[in-house]
Amino acid sequence: MKTRLDVTLTVNGERVTRSIEPRLHLIDFLRLELGLTGAHAGCEHGVCGACTVRVNGEIVRGCLTLAASLEGARVETIEGLSDSGEIRALQDAFVAHNACQCGFCTPGMLTTAADYLAQGGAADRAAIREHISGNYCRCTGYQAIVDAIEDAARRRAGGAA
């Protein structure tokens, strides 16, 4: 318990080094050590998806990932994805469709939705519903979220054509 580990990783393009307890999870590392409060802890047992962030290009649950295991990793959070403009179109669609109410699930939901689009996901409502089913939303009933992702997928397909 006493041991602390030094870990160096890149978060939103910035290199950070911290000395941390081995038991510290990524979500707490981001929130407590770095003050990146965009990703949220909804259950801390890997079910709700509120803590979803990107590590080395893949989406992971921040509450299940140990920060100490991320030496050299590239982590992106909602703050970084917003600043880079990478998910701007998706965010615009969420705003236009009112796909967030309280917004607590939203950063995780957007990160998962961006993953869907990055995998070439189509404007297919059933496929979208399936893909986001690891992200709980208690407010919207999901339909507006599906609308927003479908809209973004359609626009992207249109833009690419």
Binding site: V47, E79, Q101, C102, G103
Partner: protein, 801 residues
């Protein structure tokens, strides 16, 4: 200026004015921060020298605390202090949650931490305050409590029998409250009726599962004598009063700040002992103390709700006229009534609301509210409505089946006529104006039942079982002091708004209602922009700070738009008149020839600009010397609003569910859901639709998945999100929403509430659809949630447990 204000004179029904924002789907101004992860939830606030509270919770449903040894915990790394119930009782007074108008209601005093006994599994018993949560959790494991387990009161059916131990000896028995509404003549009506059908309904105990857990950060500044609490709550002013009273501080020395709230649904409008403990510990320590419930703590300590067993009968004549309802409701609320709203309101609502949409004569309904050793229950989204609607609509469908009538036809014969208002229901609810028939007609047009019936018949022949179910409902919104105030609770039914114009012509509005994601701030901005006459982008809304905003009840019972919105409209219109009167003095024009539109003083007749508001602001704020001496200088107005004519503004609506039951697996697949609702004037159609959809899905959750499962010893079995199932995207249908608009005449705005209608009606519609699907088998279910196991049991495919 002296002509009376009417909705028409304010252009509320006109969409042609440039700043006619009411009735338009304006995007929420706060959405951008939410999608960028830049909102500020309570846990996002950190203060210097902040400490963290961790609670040791009871592993027993009921046990005496023989002794507590905190020595090892207190010596653990990072621990600043350990508190027991006795420690906190010195600074925090207990509370008793009863309401005087609920005759005979009783409950026991509740402390921040219990003194002698734990009365539910998960009750906080000892508090550790440490420098980090991790250190606090380490220390919590070192607290030694010597428990003497006591028998647990787990079954509501036996709570009042003489052999059952009394939970709080001083109360004499386990009865919290009972009330009967009786029109008389029920027995005769039932005896002489052509048909009587009956069923026993069960509503599963469930909980809100806000994705943001309960969160609080309290700080006490000894120099100022000031307690500041950042709190994820729906009712900051109410909590200010509660903290003040229980901690023996003047209200003026308590400030409650509510930033972004990650969902509430009624969960966050109650007084929680662990949160009171946090405030008390900050008071003692003179340092900031934070507590954010983890998900296990949420399941065992957030309020539960809807733990009811209801026996119901309906009597109809040979023509399908409803003669009466006879209902007996039994509910268990845990060991304490929850402060300050009390845990008797839900049962009371069942008595008020059963049969609500229908015109009938004879009514008898009793609720019996008893104690249990389970997590306390209290008001959760649509309080009592889903229960009353399921009972009413389940019985109506049974009657239709008995009569061989189409369920829509039976409803048409019995729904209160649209021209029958004002109307008083058998239990005494007064309806100002509802639209059941218009709503049903609209719903039928959307659903096209004939097509679905044809599809249903064709599929049945192939062994595929689909069902269509309907549910009409009423919903109570815009409550007056008749809900809580007359019972002695310091829960405000009025709300205020202050609107001011700043020098650059921008407008700031401060409101007592709060935002939990519904879009309250968005509709307030629309209303204020409309009322003052400025572009909506020029309006900033401030909510959630008792130091700053006018006093108000906050957000609950769907009062944000109806009460908070009306206060905003009246104050905005008053500010517009003020702007015009000052401008008139400067422009040497008659006030009645001027108006404000899109941020300019304009000529009322031609619409041409006379002066931008920024110029008016510059003159008044910086060049007051150039104004006529007696010209007024105020660009700020405050108005408060309360309803006076009706105790509640009822809304109405109807829902339909189309689903498929797999009779081999018992799984229900939802195919489509429809809602038509009438929430009066709609300020933002998109936001209303999304409130309805979110509400429907929460209702579906209760109908199909959600249940706090207890064993016979009172141990909660569903304490993770993997055990307590909530609706997932893949399982939810698309939901079509339609509207009828019957504005209330109690206010200029005419808005009623919209946030609970979805939840009120969805479970009944799903239940009726399942029973419709299973009709060929003669199987019927009335116990929610309708799990695969229960469906297979009803089908006789598995033996009952």
């Amino acid at each position: 200026m002296s002509a009376p204000r009417t909705p028409e004179s304010l252009g509320l029904s006109r969409a042609d004015l440039p700043n006619s924002y009411i009735g338009r789907s304006v995007p929420r101004p706060t959405a951008r921060k939410l999608v960028e992860g830049r909102a500020t939830y309570t846990d996002d606030v950190s203060l210097p020298r902040m400490l963290h509270a961790v609670f040791v919770r009871s592993p027993h449903a009921h046990a005496r605390i023989a002794s507590i040894d905190v020595a090892r915990a207190a010596a653990a790394p990072g621990v600043v202090r350990v508190f027991t119930g006795a420690d906190l009782a010195k600074v925090c007074d207990p509370w008793v949650a009863t309401l005087a108008h609920l005759k005979g209601m009783k409950s026991a005093p509740q402390y921040a931490l219990p003194l002698e006994r734990a009365t539910w599994q998960g009750e906080a018993v000892v508090a550790i305050v440490a420098d980090t949560v991790a250190h606090g959790e380490d220390a919590a494991a070192l607290v030694e409590i010597d428990w003497a387990p006591l028998p647990a009161l787990a079954d509501i059916e036996t709570a009042l029998s003489p052999e059952t131990p009394v939970l709080h000896a001083e109360l004499g028995d386990n009865l919290v409250f009972t009330r009967t509404a009786d029109t008389g003549g029920v027995d005769e009506a039932f005896a002489n009726a052509a048909h009587v059908v009956e069923a026993t309904f069960v509503s599963g105990r469930h909980t809100g599962v806000t994705l943001e857990p309960r969160s609080i950060l309290a700080d006490f500044n000894r120099a100022e004598g000031m307690l500041t609490v950042w709190h994820s709550t729906q009712a900051p002013h109410m909590m200010q009063g509660v903290f003040a009273k229980q901690l023996r501080l003047p209200e003026s020395d308590v400030r409650v700040i509510t930033r972004d709230v990650g969902g509430s649904f009624g969960v966050k409008v109650h007084v929680y002992p662990d949160e009171m403990a946090v405030a008390a510990m900050a008071r003692v320590l003179g340092r900031p103390v934070k507590f954010v419930a983890d998900r296990f703590e949420s399941f065992v300590s957030d309020i539960h709700a809807r733990d009811h067993r209801i026996k119901g009968r309906i009597a109809v004549d040979a023509d399908g006229r409803i003669l009466g309802f006879d209902i007996d409701d039994l509910t268990g609320i845990g060991p304490y009534s929850v402060y300050p709203r009390t845990s008797a309101i839900e049962g009371n609502q069942v008595v008020n609301l059963c049969g609500g949409p229908y015109d009938f004569k004879h009514y008898r309904c009793t609720t019996t509210v008893v104690l249990q050793n389970k997590t306390p229950t209290c008001q959760y989204r649509a309080v009592g409505h889903p229960i009353a609607t399921a009972v009413t609509e389940g019985l109506v469908d049974l009657a239709a089946e008995r009569l061989g009538l189409d369920p829509i036809e039976l409803r048409r014969r019995n729904l209160i006529r649209d021209d029958a208002y004002p109307f008083t229901s058998p239990p005494g609810m007064r309806f100002e104006g509802l639209s059941h028939h218009a709503a049903l007609d609209k719903l039928v047009a959307m659903v096209e039942p004939e097509k679905l019936r044809a599809e249903q018949a064709a599929l049945r022949a192939r062994g595929v079982y689909r069902g269509l179910g309907f549910a009409s409902f009423i919903e109570l919104t815009n409550p007056s002091p008749f809900m809580y105030g007359i019972g002695g609770a310091r829960i405000s039914a009025q709300d205020g708004c202050t609107v001011r114009m700043d020098p650059d012509g921008s407008v700031v509005a401060m409101s007592g209602v709060t935002e939990q994601g519904q879009g309250t701030e968005a509709i307030l901005a629309q209303i204020v922009a409309h009322g003052v006459g400025v572009p909506v982008e020029r309006v900033k809304i401030v909510t959630g700070d008792t130091r700053v905003t006018p006093y108000g009840g906050g957000t609950w019972a769907c009062r944000g738009a109806g009460i908070g919105g009306e206060a905003a409209l009246q104050s905005a219109v008053a500010l517009r008149e003020q702007l015009i009167s000052v401008a008139a003095a400067i422009l040497q024009a008659a006030p009645e020839t001027l108006d404000v539109a899109m941020g300019e003083i304009v000529d009322r007749a031609s619409g041409s600009s006379r002066m931008p508001l920024a110029e008016l602001g510059r003159l008044v704020y910086f060049r007051g010397d150039t104004l006529p001496k007696d010209a007024p200088r105020e660009f700020v107005q405050t108005r408060h609003f309360i309803t006076k004519d009706y105790p509640f503004a009822f809304t109405n609506g109807v829902q339909a569910s189309w689903l498929e039951v797999d009779v081999e697996t018992g799984l229900v697949r939802l195919l489509k859901h429809w809602v038509v609702e009438d929430c009066g004037r709609i300020v933002n159609p998109k936001l209303v639709d999304e409130q309805v959809r979110g509400g429907v899905v929460q209702g579906i959750g209760g109908a199909l998945y959600e249940q706090c499962v207890y064993d016979a010893e009172g141990q909660l079995r569903t304490t993770t999100m993997a055990d307590y199932l909530v609706p997932l995207a893949a399982d939810m249908p698309d939901i079509a929403v339609g509207h009828v608009e019957t504005p209330t005449r109690e206010s200029l705005l005419g808005a009623k509430g919209a946030g609970e209608a979805g939840t009120a009606g969805a479970p009944a519609a799903v239940m009726n659809a399942i029973n419709d699907a299973l009709r060929p088998f003669g199987a019927k279910l009335f116990a929610q949630p309708f799990t695969p196991e229960r469906i297979l049991t009803a089908l006789g495919r598995v033996a009952p447990r």
